[in-house]
Symmetry: C2
Subunit: 77 residues, 2 copies
């Protein structure tokens, strides 16, 4: 199965949700991307439909926005 | 492991997210609660921290609000 991708930015909400997601779907099933450290991937995330972090891109290509930590605009400023 | 609980209200956003969640964490790991049909459980959901649907209550007791379908107030009206 294709992996999910979890986009976050290190915010407290992100860290808490990350622990839940890893625990629910398994660490080997999800790639974790820190958009603060990997800002080169912000464009990719936006193109895929990520509007805020934390967000989970599922193997089917849907984006689940989980609670709310920061908007993509916040990450660019 | 304790099951997760997925609260929804039959809205299009809810149905789409439900398919993703079941596919990600497995049907036997999640109880699906339709708050439109089981309105007696709205109080329970709110007490646990659900502010909108769809939402996932994790085994650790955290609530993940997934995208946005409807607020709990909408369900009561």
């Amino acid at each position: 199965m294709k992996k999910s991708v979890f986009y976050h930015a290190g915010c407290p909400v992100c860290v808490s949700v990350e622990q839940d997601i890893v625990s629910l779907i398994g660490q080997d099933q999800v790639e974790i991307v820190h958009l603060g450290e990997s800002s080169g991937r912000i464009d990719e995330a936006e193109r895929l439909g990520v509007k805020s972090v934390p967000a989970l891109l599922t193997p089917s290509g849907n984006v689940l926005h989980l609670n709310f930590g920061a908007s993509m605009e916040d990450l660019k400023s």
